[in-house]
Symmetry: C2
C-alpha cells in the first residue's frame, strides 16, 4: 500500500458524501462473475439501497433492470458518489468527468497505482491533483470499497455471496480489503456492523479522516481498525485521543518489528514509526492495540454487547483446572487479578460441593459427582457473579458431546443475563465441533460473547478494563 499525500487535511470532514450518498454511479464492466459492476449493483439492490443507482458503461444498455448510461455526463440527475472499477490508465480521465459532473466522492477500486510501480505512482499523483483542484474526495485507489449497513450502501466490487449485513454498532476499517464482506464471514458474527471501509492506498481519505467521521457517527459505538502505515501520526493520535474517550478505538498496526517497519516504510514512503514510541503514544491517546489479525473481529464483541467492568478483579468459573495459570499470565498483562470470594459466597459454594468456594471455581468435581448438577449450575454462576469482590467473569464450559446440557445451560444463562451487569467472557470446548458451535451461537444469541481460546477470552476482559479506566479518566 502506498501513501501519497501532499495536501493539508480538509478542514471539513465530508465523508458523509460517501456513506450517506443518495445517488451513486457504478462505473465498470457488467459481465457476470465475482468482481465488477454487475456484482456491485446486485449487492446494492439486494441490500435494500434506496438511493438512485446509475450504471455507467458505453457498451451496455441495461443491467439488473437498470438503464446503463454511456458516461457520467449523460446522467440526468446529480451524483453523490461514484465507484470506479476500470483499468488504471483510464481512471484519471473518468475522474475528471466525475469532477465536471459535480460528483463529490469517488471510490477508486482499480489497482496498479503507487503500490505497483513508478508509472502507477505518477497516475496516483495525477488523481490526487484532480482531487485537490476540484474538491472531489477519493477513497483508494486499490480498495475493496465501503459499506453502510444503515442504508444498504454496499459499494464493493466483490461478490460476498450475501448482501444484507446485520446492522449494529461496530465499524470495521482497514488498509486492506481483508476485512470487507467478500473476505470475512460477517454472517457468522453475532455483532452487527455500522460501517466498513478499505482505505486502499489512502491517496486522499485516510485513517484520520475516517476516525474523525466515525467518532461523530451516531451508529458507530466501537471502531476496529487495521493499519500498515499511518499517514500523519500526530493528527492520528490527536483525533484518536478525542474519539477514544467516547468509543473504543481498537487498532491492529503491523510493522511492529524492525523488519516489518522497514517494509512498511519502503512501501509507503512514510517515515517508519518506532513502534515503542507509537505504543506509548497509543496508550496516552487511549487507543487499544490489538495483537492478532483475528482480534479485529473478536474484540469488538466485548464492547458491542457487554457492560464494562467496574474494577480489575476477575472471577473464574471453570470445568477444568488446567487453564488457571495461563489465565493469570494473560490477565496480568492488563492488570487483571484473580479475585477472592466473600465469606458469604464461599459458604454458598461450599454447601453445594466441598471446596467449591475457591477461585478458580472448579465445577469439574461437582459436575462429575453431583447428580442434579445442571440445575445447581445457575446458583453457582449467580453466586460468583453477584459477589462484591468480582468485577468480571471468565467462564469456561465443556460442551457435552452426547448429552442434552446445551438447552439447560441456555435456560440458565437466559435467567442470569437479566440479573447482573458485569461482563462475562466464555470459552467453550468439547470433542464435537458442531455442538460447540451450536452452544456458541446460543450463548452469543443471549449476549454472552464466546471466544476461540482462553487467551483471547482474557484479552477481551483486559481490553474492556483498559477502556473503562480510560473512560474513568475523562469523567
Amino acid at each position: 500500500m502506498t501513501t501519497y499525500r501532499a495536501r493539508q487535511p480538509h478542514s471539513r470532514n465530508d465523508l458523509g458524501n460517501f456513506y450517506e450518498a443518495r445517488s451513486v454511479a457504478v462505473i465498470g464492466t457488467f459481465r457476470d462473475g465475482w468482481f465488477g459492476g454487475s456484482v456491485s449493483i446486485k449487492s446494492l439492490l439486494n441490500a435494500g439501497y434506496e438511493g438512485l443507482i446509475y450504471p455507467i458503461n458505453p457498451t451496455y444498455k441495461e443491467v439488473h433492470g437498470l438503464r446503463v448510461y454511456s458516461r457520467v455526463s449523460d446522467v440526468p440527475g446529480s451524483i453523490d458518489l461514484a465507484i470506479i472499477m476500470i483499468n488504471v490508465r483510464r481512471v484519471p480521465q473518468v475522474l475528471r468527468e466525475c469532477a465536471e459532473k459535480g460528483v463529490k466522492a469517488v471510490i477508486v477500486v482499480a489497482d496498479g497505482f503507487a503500490e505497483r510501480d513508478q508509472g502507477g505512482a505518477l497516475l496516483q499523483r495525477e488523481i490526487v491533483d484532480i482531487a485537490e483542484r476540484t474538491g472531489l474526495r477519493i477513497i483508494g485507489p486499490n480498495t475493496a470499497g465501503i459499506v453502510n449497513t444503515a442504508n444498504g450502501l454496499n459499494m464493493c466490487p466483490y461478490d460476498a455471496g450475501y448482501y444484507k449485513l446485520r446492522k449494529g454498532s461496530v465499524a470495521i476499517c482497514a488498509q486492506t480489503g481483508m476485512t470487507n464482506p467478500q473476505a470475512f464471514p460477517y454472517r457468522d458474527l453475532r455483532f452487527g456492523v455500522s460501517k466498513i471501509c478499505d482505505f486502499g492506498n489512502k491517496c486522499d481519505v485516510d485513517e484520520c479522516d475516517l476516525l474523525e467521521y466515525l467518532g461523530g457517527d451516531p451508529e458507530t459505538h466501537v471502531i476496529s481498525m487495521y493499519l500498515e502505515s499511518i499517514s500523519n501520526g500526530r493528527r492520528f493520535l490527536e483525533i484518536a485521543s478525542r474519539v477514544a474517550l467516547r468509543k473504543p478505538v481498537l487498532l491492529l498496526k503491523s510493522g511492529r518489528t524492525r523488519e516489518g517497519a522497514r517494509a512498511s516504510a519502503s512501501h509507503t514512503g512514510s517515515l517508519a514509526l518506532n513502534d515503542d514510541i507509537f505504543e506509548a503514544a497509543c496508550k496516552q491517546a487511549g487507543v487499544l492495540r490489538l495483537e492478532r489479525f483475528n482480534d479485529l473481529f473478536e474484540m469488538p464483541k466485548m464492547f458491542a454487547y457487554q457492560p464494562l467492568p467496574e474494577g480489575n478483579r476477575m472471577g473464574i468459573i471453570t470445568i477444568t483446572g488446567g487453564v488457571g495459570v495461563l489465565s493469570i499470565d494473560e490477565g496480568s498483562k492488563y492488570g487483571l487479578v484473580i479475585s477472592s470470594l466473600s465469606p458469604r459466597t464461599k459458604g454458598t459454594l461450599n454447601a453445594i460441593f466441598p471446596n467449591l468456594g475457591e477461585v478458580p471455581v472448579d465445577i469439574g468435581p461437582p459436575a462429575a459427582s453431583v447428580r442434579d448438577f445442571s440445575s445447581r449450575y445457575p446458583e453457582i454462576f449467580s453466586a460468583v457473579l453477584a459477589d462484591e469482590h468480582v468485577d468480571c467473569l471468565f467462564n469456561i464450559l465443556w460442551v457435552d458431546p452426547v448429552g442434552g446440557l446445551i438447552e439447560e445451560y441456555e435456560t440458565a444463562f437466559k435467567r442470569m443475563k437479566e440479573a447482573y451487569r458485569k461482563p462475562v467472557v466464555t470459552w467453550l470446548y468439547g470433542p464435537d465441533r458442531v455442538r460447540v458451535d451450536e452452544m456458541r451461537e446460543r450463548m452469543e444469541g443471549l449476549g454472552f460473547p464466546v471466544f476461540p481460546d482462553p487467551e483471547t477470552s482474557i484479552r477481551a476482559l483486559g481490553m474492556a478494563l483498559t477502556f473503562k479506566n480510560l473512560a474513568g479518566r475523562s469523567s
Copy 2:
C-alpha cells in the same frame, strides 16, 4: 496442580507398563453417564483394545458383557495397568491391593488430593509412599488418563463421543485434561495421534519420564506438551536436549509472567522458574516454545506432514496484498525473510501478468482479470515453489463463496504435491465458513496444512525452520 515428588527418578523408564499394557483393571462405578468405569470400558472396546479387561466393583456382576470382579485380588490373571476412578479417600487402600496383586502401573483419576487442601496433600503423600515402597508407578492423581492409538488403549474416564482416534505420529501430553479426547475435537484434526497423556498432579510419573519414553517411542515423531510447572528443570532440559535433536519438542509453558509464575509456584510448591532463564535454557536445549493454547494442536501439523525448509527464505503467494507487512513482522521473530525471485521465475510470472514476479506474489489482480486464471494458478504456484531462492511458502487463498474453484484448486494442489519437497503453509479466508472448511479439509487431505490466521501460518514455518537449524547443528 500440585507436585509432590520426594524420590529420585527411576533409573529404568518403565512407562511401557502404561502404554503397552496387555491387561487392564478398570476400578470404579459402572453407572451410565459421561464419566467413570462404564465409559472407560466402552471406550476400550470401541477402540479395538485387544488386551484383557477386568472391571472391578463389588456391587456389579457384569458390564458391557464383561464379568465384574469384586476386587483386584479376585482377578485370575496378572494385571499390567489399573485405572482408579473412586473417591479420593478410598484410593490408598485400593492402591495397596493393586500393589499386592502385582499391578505395575496405575492411573489415579480421582481428584481431591494435593490440588485440593492439606488433607488431600497427606493422601497424596500416602500414595507416593505406596508407590515408592512397592515399585508401582502412578500417573496422576487428578488425571484424565492416557491413550495409545496403536493398541486401542483408551484409558480415559470421560466419554468423548468417539473412540477410534486416527493413528499417527503426534504425542500430546499436558498437565491438564484439556488436551484429552473428551475435551478436544480430535476427529477434526488431520494429523494422527500416537500417545496422549494428562499428567495430573504428577505425584510420580512426570513430564521428564514421559519425554524420555516418547523420545524412544518409534510411533512418536512429534511431541506437543503443556506444562504449568516443571518438576525438575535440570533433568527436563537434559532429556529434552537429547530428544529434541531427533523429534520436535513443542512446549507451551504457562507461568510466563511474574504473576503467573507466582501462582504456579504456590500451587506446586516447586521453585518458581524465572521465565527468561527458562526461555534461554529451552533455546539451548532445542525445545520449541509455543505461544498459545491452540498451538498445541496447530503446530504439530507442520511437523506431521510437511518437509523441513532448507533455509530461511519465505515466498508468499497471496490473493490479497493486505498481510504482507504483518507476515514480515511475524516471520522476523523466527529469522524468516521474504525471498526475492530469480530472473527466470520473474520472467515466467511477468509473462502471465504484469508485475506478478514480485514477492509477495499478488495473484489478486490476475485473478480479477485473467479469464483462464484457475488454469494458470498451478503454473504460478509451481514457478514460485521451484525457485532456488525460495525455501518455504506462505500461501494465501480466497475461497470463492459461489464459484466452483475448490475442485480446480484441489486438482492443482494434487499435482503440485508430487513435484516439490518444500514446506507450504496455507491460510484460507472467505465469506462462507462452510466452504472455507471444505477447502481446508481437502487441502489438509492432500497434506497441505491450513492454519486459522496469518500469524499462526507464519509461526508454523518459523518453528519448522528453528527445528531444521537444530537438526543441522547435531549432524
